[in-house]
């Protein structure tokens, strides 16, 4: 790629929990370009999931300061469904069950919502079937899971696979993976990671949110950020993750932020 395209640009983002006013994000700066994979690491309570929620538009948070530009547009002013249609995908930490609604039916509705937004006609039934088969193979999804109800009775690993499968079909520009490794055994982790790797592309940006270094053994990020107490306190490459694995998060909190938020 010759020209760098910025997908996500976060400046001075501050957010609090709407209900009790607790400030969680205390000034986050982050720039993610097309083709890049960034990992956001940090201890529990550092604000990782809040960042994912605020970016995807979940209710219950108030942004008190800062801006978020997505492909140059004001992301925070869009309702969640519009963000999704514009290509923002959140892989949920806890995927939700929708009883009585078949997985593929749900996905087809989602795909058509995205396509409509882009001025495309509804997906043809045969084309959709072919697309589903192709993408299901990426995460080794069994046919049975496709026709079952959305996440109903799925194991933890199956739910996470389903998330990555949906991501593959919806083909987002910005994918936010919230604790995708949590609750996975080593085999499932390998499958999910290989699915994610196959979806890396020059025009897609990914944000991996994770507590543990372990996921990064399978998906190598371009940049690693450490989030602590609502701020990015350290940015580095793969070696930073190994350092964290060795020393934990404690040593960072004593230090002043270094190179905060300067991603690339």
């Amino acid at each position: 790629m010759n020209v760098t395209t910025t997908i996500l640009e976060i400046r001075g983002l501050k957010a609090r929990i709407a209900e009790d006013g607790t400030e969680i994000l205390k000034g986050v700066d982050l720039t993610v370009n097309a083709g890049e994979v960034h990992a956001i690491m940090g201890p529990n309570g550092s604000g990782k999931s809040t960042l994912a929620h605020v970016l995807s538009g979940r209710e219950g948070y108030e942004v008190t300061d800062g801006t978020v530009l997505y492909k140059g547009k004001d992301l925070l002013s869009m309702p969640p469904e519009e963000r999704a249609r514009e290509g923002v995908f959140l892989s949920f930490q806890y995927p939700v069950e929708i009883p009585g609604v078949a997985n593929t039916y749900f996905l087809r509705m989602a795909l058509n919502a995205v396509r409509k937004h882009r001025g495309l006609p509804e997906v043809d039934a045969m084309d959709f079937l072919a697309l589903v088969e192709e993408k299901a193979a990426l995460v080794e999804m069994e046919d049975a899971l496709l026709s079952r109800n959305v996440n109903e009775g799925f194991s933890g690993g199956e739910k996470k696979r389903n998330e990555i499968f949906q991501m593959a079909v919806l083909d987002p520009t910005l994918a936010i993976l919230d604790e995708t490794d949590s609750g996975l055994d080593i085999d499932a982790l390998r499958v999910v990671a290989s699915g994610v790797n196959s979806l890396r592309s020059a025009d897609r940006a990914m944000l991996l949110i994770t507590h543990y270094q372990r996921l990064l053994n399978y998906i190598t990020p371009d940049v690693i950020h450490v989030l602590s107490d609502g701020r990015i306190v350290r940015t580095g490459d793969k070696s930073l993750a190994l350092l964290l694995e060795e020393k934990g998060y404690g040593w960072l909190e004593a230090e002043a932020p270094v190179g905060a938020g300067k991603a690339s």
Binding site: P80, A84, L90, P99, F106, M109, L170
Partner: protein, 481 residues
């Protein structure tokens, strides 16, 4: 917009079928007495035995009081303020074909999405359309007649098949049954009659569209379906009504009789005017529906999608008399705004090895109150009887209510009974999950609700299932943000 705002917006959706057709009507003075009962009977040129039956019912009704046990509340009904008969004028001449039908009427059906000709010809559905109180169009009667199936208005049946009517009328719901059924027995205006003779499988789905269209006119349909030995029939009933400010009483009676090895499937989509978002207006729907599995191995299956009416009081039931007979009840009831639904079923096991299945899905939104009331009684004679009941409630918002009253009365130790129940709420997480995948809040609610109701919807004939799915979405528009 917050989810609560969307919830309240969805629940405040205006009724889409609220329009009035200007068909000149012939109506009786308001009020009820023996003269009115006799006048209805005379209007229909009924034989003496039927007039006598009506009068017996009327006299019995005078001694009865309105039941108060249901979990519904409404201002007292003034039975003397109601008109007990209204007929569109064109019906007097009795249209022989669609060309003879009042074009205004046909346009009404079209607005409701019931293109009569198209449905009749393309979908192969015979439509016995009840408009106000008189049947105005019956299609496909000839092709039904070829296989011996009788499908006509109740009034016609009284004249053309008096022996059958006399034999079965009141045989499942006697004129003394309950306040509303007894009232119906005295004043019923018209309805449908269907008779499927021995060994005949009815070649098409039979369908009746009901529509109330006369201010302050109570509607009192009477439907009777008989399937002889080895016969089978599937019957569809769908309802919509125009918008009204004053409440309208509806007290229908449906009787089904299945002889040995016969099967009757009765499906309803009920979408009468539910009242506005403040609870004003709307239909009072007090219905008695009951089927008798009189014969061995017979089967009666009720499927209902109840989204309309301000008050629903309805318990489609099965009397499982024949050995090895089967009763089924599949129900989705939706109560939005200030709607109140008290609905369920009774499964009365008398014959040996009788089986029944109850699946009830209640959806409450806005200030709606939804009650499941179901009775399973197993007589001493019903050796080896089995029942399975599943009652699920879905709540949308925090102003509504769901209530479940299962009654069990088992007199034999050989019976097997299972009951499952659940209550859930449409969660913020479910809505957000859907929105994060690109669906609007309204689409998300519709999707979740239809998923919840799917076990019942799939029991409906295909064309009804599509309509019901749309209806659930439309009925909840404005209920979630």
């Amino acid at each position: 917009m917050s989810s609560n705002e969307v919830l309240s917006e969805l629940t405040s959706q205006e009724y889409r079928h609220g329009f009035v057709t200007d068909v000149e009507s012939e109506v009786f003075r308001p009020g009820l007495d023996e003269e009115i009962v006799a006048a209805i009977s005379a209007k229909k040129k009924e034989p003496q035995w039927l007039l006598d039956w009506r009068l017996k019912a009327y006299r019995h009704w005078l001694k009865m009081t309105e039941p108060k046990w249901a979990k519904v509340s409404y201002p007292p009904i003034d039975y003397q303020a109601i008109r007990y008969y209204a007929a569109p004028k064109s019906a007097k001449d009795g249209p022989q074909s669609l060309a003879d039908v009042d074009p205004e009427l046909l346009r009404t059906y079209e607005k409701l999405g019931v293109p009569l000709e198209e449905r009749a010809i393309l979908a192969g559905v015979a439509v016995d359309a009840v408009f106000d109180s008189v049947s105005v169009a019956t299609t496909f009667r000839e092709s039904l007649a070829k296989v011996g199936v009788i499908f006509c208005s109740f009034s016609e049946a009284v004249h053309q098949h008096p022996d059958l009517v006399k034999k079965y009328l009141g045989s499942v719901v006697p004129y003394t049954d309950n306040f509303f059924a007894t009232l119906n027995s005295a004043v019923f205006s018209d309805g449908s009659f269907c008779f499927v003779p021995k060994g005949v499988r009815c070649p098409m789905e039979l369908s009746t569209y009901f529509r109330i269209n006369q201010a302050d006119t109570g509607q009192f349909e009477r439907t009777l379906i008989v399937a002889e030995e080895g016969a089978s029939v599937s019957y569809l009933e769908g309802c919509t009504a125009p918008k009204r400010d004053t409440n309208q009483l509806h007290a229908a009676v449906v009787e089904l009789v299945a002889l040995d090895d016969a099967k009757i499937k009765y499906s309803t989509v009920q979408n009468w005017y539910p009242g506005d978002k403040d609870g004003k207006g709307g239909i009072y729907n007090f219905v008695t529906k009951r089927g008798k599995c009189a014969g061995k191995r017979s089967k009666i299956s009720w499927t209902q999608v109840e989204t309309g009416s301000s008050i629903t009081w309805k318990y489609p039931s099965c009397i499982l008399l024949g050995d090895d007979s089967v009763g089924e009840f599949y129900s989705v009831a939706l109560a939005n705004n200030y709607q109140q639904a008290d609905t369920g079923t009774k499964m009365i096991h008398i014959g040996k090895n009788t089986r029944s299945t109850i699946v009830s899905k209640g959806i409450s939104a806005g200030h709606g109150q939804n009650t499941y009331r179901g009775g399973v009684s197993i007589a001493k004679s019903a050796i080896g009887a089995r029942n399975y009941s599943q009652c699920d409630s879905l709540l949308i918002g925090d102003q509504c209510g769901a209530h479940t009253f299962p009654y069990l009365d088992v007199k034999t130790s050989t019976a097997q009974i299972e009951h499952e129940a659940s209550t859930s709420k449409i969660g913020e997480d479910q809505l957000f999950y859907c929105r994060q995948r690109g669906l609007t809040n309204e689409d998300a609610v519709s999707l979740i609700v239809n998923g919840f109701a799917r076990r019942v919807i799939r029991e409906l004939p295909m064309e009804f299932a599509v309509e019901a799915t749309k209806l659930l979405g439309v009925s909840l528009e404005g209920s979630v943000g």
